[in-house]
Symmetry: C2
Subunit: 394 residues, 2 copies
Amino acid sequence: MPMVGPETADQARLLRLLRDDGPRSRVELTDLLGLPRARFAAEVDRLTALGLVESAGPAASRGGRRSSLLRIGAQVRFGAVLVGGGTLRVALTDGELNPLARHDEPVDVRLGPDVVVGRMVELLGKLRVEAGLTSLTGVGVALPAPVEVRDGTPVSPPALPGWHRFPVRDTLAAELGCPVQVDNDANAMALGERHAGTGRPFDDFLAVKLGDAVGCGLVLAGSLYRGAASGAGDIGHLQLSEDGPLCGCGNNGCVEAYCGDAALVREAVTAARAGRSTVLADRLAAAGTLAVDDVAAAATEGDPAAQTIVRDAARRLGQVLVGLVSFVNPAIVIIGGAPAGIGPVLLAEIRGVVYRRSTPLATGSLPIVLSDLGDTAALIGAAHLVSTQTYAAR
Amino acid sequence: MPMVGPETADQARLLRLLRDDGPRSRVELTDLLGLPRARFAAEVDRLTALGLVESAGPAASRGGRRSSLLRIGAQVRFGAVLVGGGTLRVALTDGELNPLARHDEPVDVRLGPDVVVGRMVELLGKLRVEAGLTSLTGVGVALPAPVEVRDGTPVSPPALPGWHRFPVRDTLAAELGCPVQVDNDANAMALGERHAGTGRPFDDFLAVKLGDAVGCGLVLAGSLYRGAASGAGDIGHLQLSEDGPLCGCGNNGCVEAYCGDAALVREAVTAARAGRSTVLADRLAAAGTLAVDDVAAAATEGDPAAQTIVRDAARRLGQVLVGLVSFVNPAIVIIGGAPAGIGPVLLAEIRGVVYRRSTPLATGSLPIVLSDLGDTAALIGAAHLVSTQTYAAR
């Protein structure tokens, strides 16, 4: 049963403060909101009655008047879903977006949205029951696809064949009986990095997401920036070369056709068959196929062919980033979605290209780093999406 | 003598409403600000006493209670300065940023900032006296340079040799005795287009400025976006090719080395000397030199060599825009700073490249148009810069 939400802008602001900064004392919160004490108490009473806020014991004394701590209510629980790289990840978070439980399993997105969205419903239900909940407060979904956020539907997603315009949001909302928000996985990663990761101190950063789909989330002036039609950051199908490799989208030479997981695997199979890598050839012989983790493992072992594959992809990505970094002038670039182990090779090459070719004002002191949250960033970000709706005034 | 400014956020909002939308009735403004009538009257009285607001007669009846119009006070007068293309432009605007008077004259920026800023002071003084004013409310300056907005100084500006870190803002403020704001000319153009031009209805657009320096102003989510260190939109020195033509900045193959005025002139001189264009050769023989207007005139006359020069530059610019448009997903791209006459050739080529190569979500319905304000956009934008300071609560 969905809860009724905050009624006023001050209630909404209070909830977002508690989500973003954790428990705080009533005295601090009264000051932060700039409210008279009686008014603050009334707003808190209303949120407490709804279960959105609860007391968390006495605050540590600061020598002034005694105060008690407030936090988001324990019945606030968000579901989070992330699809990508052949894996369906489902998580449960508390009202501050801390992950409480998680389930990962293989998924074949080519089975279509009916099957995969159905499985999301089952897994979210399982996590909900295991946590002893009768309902979820809301669910956020991150897809490796351009998403029309207004409708909650993927739009012509090359990495999700058959999902075009499928009503992911409305289907889940009807099945689960709670609000649902859907967005691109790179946007979700950016929100997660902003909430709980490397991006937390920065108002302006890029979150570049590698994997089966390549994308970029933009946090500009402190907020996720989606552009005029939810298309901002869709760099995966920028064409780098007209005679480049064929891309899953049907065009040639896209960023994804150079830097996506499928491109790394394609190059690895070629190297194995051409006798350029015994490591990759052995793995191919053993499994009959290669995955991106094989490329990563081989590169980590020092296999020259695998390292060249990673470096080539990183150089292409660097060439794209040169323009974006000069254009947006971010404070930091965070790279996620790369398989474990290839980080150092990847970063070295990207930094080489970006620092050599960008304009000085943009890169004078620009850190380019790997995400340390990994795929948890996009799960936290998915929960963030729907929490912003839950914590908004009606 | 600088006036004292608004004291409250409501006063500041009222001033910005009157600047952006022109005179409005007290009744409408009271509703828009959501203020009790007595409080609104008190705020207006305070602004009237400061000369920032004045009555503008009775409002047209809407069948309800009678109301009178308010507008920005007639003593509010901003100065605006734009440097670029060998011309110093100085204008005077009213408090709604309508241009009232303007003076253009040739300038050689290589004489250095002392001389040129000194001339700005003289010309602003002349406009002020001709308008019968004892002082200016504020002055905005747009320079063809990266500008550290916090300090009001240009930073390593290739198009303004000798101006690095010159205190343009503080020098002018001391000489003129009023607040001064300095920014990049592309940012000023974007603000002007947003206030009074093609960009007015759009919350998300790019303003691309050609000319001696090439840059881009970003209006994102309704506001000018400057990035983490005032560097957003600095596309002029992105390197398109490592073996490209030498740029004024000392590197090779920058956007400006292909698309800047100096590049067009360089190619035109080469074409004239190589016998590829009698039109350009005749102009070169007559004047001993060529300017970008000669290229534009020749292209307009149908000279094939001049048209090729313009098309080549436009194609390079289009290649840069492909990435930016996919990345930011603007609602419209406005191109300014091109010499009169070359617009059609330029636009056709840019559109060809962008529509062919960008991602569908970003360019499904993306207009790419020429600015119809011309260099007035950057002058209005310069006035806008300082008006925002004047109309902000202290």
